[in-house]
């Protein structure tokens, strides 16, 4: 009977197209907007992803990774003295102005890392070596910096190229892969001692302490110990990630802006598909009545409705997801706007589409179950 049900639906071309369009649009909007939101969240936690540290120690006022309230230099030694900490290294972060090869200016995120261990250095090098950074007045730049600091469209900075940071020469010794930053500043890495030449002098220069727990000790346990022993705020990488995400939720309008679009997509999807499916059922009520008269039970009829709704729903979901992926692919090419489609989102959108179909069926089902098969004799 499912085949019959599907032919009844697909035979009604206009209704089918409206249903499919509504569900496709709904899946597309939810996926695209949510993926952009995930992309923005990923950008907002870029430093965490790029630096690869298990424990982050920060000033007690810091709630998220983009806040750079300073620590005292002595705090580094205090963290190192904690029993469960294997090692602790400084990490500085500041926004500085770089002068491009063509003479224009651009702001960059200057990350200073410990020269002896290179802890916090970029995970993936595209060109050059992390150790080249140990030379004076050298930097490693990310791929975005290689493009944006060059200014000439189509060309890129390469190893050996020189540009200026705060009127001081910086020679590129490596190009790395890095997650883009929330403010769209390129990342420039150097050793802490090198960064002292590039950044304005301040009384305190230390922003983060990155650390690793002793072998066999969990990051959570070490974090508790650091908090207890030093009074500083410490996070595991995962907790700092979520703390940053919640900070964005609480302090920016981004979740509301994107959440509103997602909610509207759900409402529009539900209204259009619910209304269309309902009118399809009303239009076909005599046919459903005949099927009832012939001995098809309400249960079987509802199963047919489910088959109809879920088939068109899954088609709409597939097309919507495909279109969203295509747009994502186009965005990824330009990396603007950020687009990140985690696998969880695929299931969440599927669940949203299925919920819309379910509600549409429930709306229409009561019309069918209450329909008296004897009505077919009165038409």
């Amino acid at each position: 009977m499912f085949r019959i049900g599907l032919k009844m639906l697909f035979g009604n071309t206009s209704k089918c197209i409206i249903l499919l369009s509504a569900l496709t649009l709904c899946a597309l909007l939810i996926t695209e907007q949510s993926a952009i939101f995930c992309g923005i969240m990923r950008w907002s936690t870029a430093l965490l992803e790029n630096s690869n540290a298990k424990i982050w120690v920060v000033n007690p006022q810091v709630e998220q990774v983009n806040q750079t309230t300073h620590l005292r230099d002595i705090d580094l030694y205090r963290v190192r003295s904690v029993k469960n900490v294997k090692w602790a290294m400084p990490l500085s972060l500041t926004v500085v102005q770089a002068k491009t090869k063509k003479g224009s200016f651009a702001q960059v995120q200057l990350v200073g890392i410990d020269a002896s261990t290179l802890a916090g250095a970029p995970r993936t090098m595209v060109k050059g070596s992390q150790h080249s950074m140990l030379q004076p007045k050298t930097v490693i730049i990310d791929q975005f910096a290689a493009e944006s600091l060059c200014q000439k469209k189509g060309s890129k900075m390469d190893i050996g190229d020189i540009f200026e940071i705060n009127d001081t020469e910086a020679r590129v010794v490596g190009i790395c892969k890095a997650q883009r930053h929330f403010f769209n500043h390129p990342f420039v890495y150097s050793t802490c001692s090198n960064t002292l030449q590039y950044r304005p002098k301040q009384r305190r220069m230390l922003n983060f302490i990155i650390a690793e727990p002793q072998d066999g000790i969990s990051a959570q346990e070490a974090v508790r110990e650091i908090r207890k022993e030093t009074g500083l705020k410490a996070y595991s990488e995962k907790d700092f990630f979520w703390s940053t995400i919640w900070w964005v939720f609480e302090n920016t309008g981004i979740p509301i802006a994107i959440g509103t679009t997602v909610l509207l997509a759900l409402i529009v999807g539900l209204c259009v598909s619910g209304q269309t499916f309902y009118s399809f059922v009303i239009e076909n009520l005599p046919h459903f009545g005949i099927l009832k008269a012939m001995g098809l039970s309400n249960k079987e009829l509802i199963k047919i409705l489910f088959a109809q709704a879920f088939t068109v729903g899954l088609c709409g979901y597939g097309i919507g997801m495909g279109l969203a992926s295509f747009f994502g692919w186009c965005f990824l090419y330009n990396e603007m706007p950020p687009f990140y489609l985690p696998y969880e989102l695929i299931f969440i959108v599927l669940a949203a589409t299925v919920s819309i179909c379910l509600l549409s069926v429930l709306l229409a089902a009561q019309k069918i179950t209450s329909y008296d098969p004897g009505e077919v004799f009165r038409q």
């Binding site: 009844m8 697909f10 099927l291 008269a293 001995g295 077919v376 004799f377």
Partner: protein, 230 residues
């Protein structure tokens, strides 16, 4: 008539509806027996209760009081679920407007009762095509209902009603949408089905041109059967 075995026994049937503040007595103390192998026609003016009686016999409408028994099954005491199963097993329906599903082919329309009986789709379609061959509609099996004439559509509807070989076939104005010649052909088919297969066929009609085909005719007026004559 080949046998006097009763297929439908209706005794003191009452059915009333609420229409605004007043009660409309659609059936008032109706008693009627229908036999196997009999083609019974129910006639009467509009509002006389013909369609209500047909709905009661078809198990799609419940009586307020009285009893109805079809093939020894007491319909009046059945639950809605039992009535649904009963209709599936014992009754074939033919409607005035044919009620073929417009987006399905004729073969698929005819196969629907078999699919309701959970017969696999491929087997059901083959059986439906065989049925259409008997109805001289095999060449139309893959056509959509709109591509067929009224007479052809009604023949397809008859094929659909008979494909599960029900013991009782009920027809609501089967010829009113057809011209006289086609109507007569349809009645010939229905009469041959009745007499050759010992089924009971009940026809509700306004069409005086077809009354000659009936074995018996029940005349209704104001919710009661005024007369039953051969």
């Amino acid at each position: 008539m080949t046998t006097k075995e009763k297929s439908v026994i209706i005794e003191n049937a009452y059915k009333s509806y609420s229409s605004g503040n007043r009660q409309v007595h659609a059936l008032a103390d109706v008693s009627l027996d229908i036999y196997k192998g009999e083609l019974m026609m129910i006639v009467g003016p509009s509002g006389s209760g013909k369609t209500t009686l047909l709905s009661v016999i078809g198990g799609t409408l419940r009586l307020n009081s009285g009893s109805i028994s079809i093939f020894d099954n007491p319909l009046h005491s059945m639950t809605p679920e039992e009535l649904t199963i009963f209709r599936k097993k014992h009754i074939g329906f033919i409607f005035q407007q044919f009620h073929l599903i417009p987006t399905l082919t004729i073969a698929e329309n005819v196969a629907i009762p078999l699919l309701i009986h959970k017969i696999p789709a491929e087997k059901a379609i083959i059986q439906a095509e065989e049925m259409l061959e008997h109805a001289q509609l095999f060449d139309k099996a893959q056509s959509l209902p709109r591509e067929l004439s009224g007479g052809e559509q009604q023949r397809a509807a008859i094929a659909r009603a008979l494909i599960t070989e029900p013991e009782l076939v009920i027809c609501d104005e089967p010829t009113s949408s057809l011209d006289a010649a086609t109507g007569k052909k349809i009645l010939e088919i229905l009469r041959s089905i009745t007499h050759n297969t010992n089924r009971s066929v009940i026809i509700v009609t306004h069409d005086s041109r077809i009354l000659d085909y009936a074995d018996r005719i029940a005349e209704m007026s104001d919710g009661t059967i005024k007369e039953v004559h051969d």
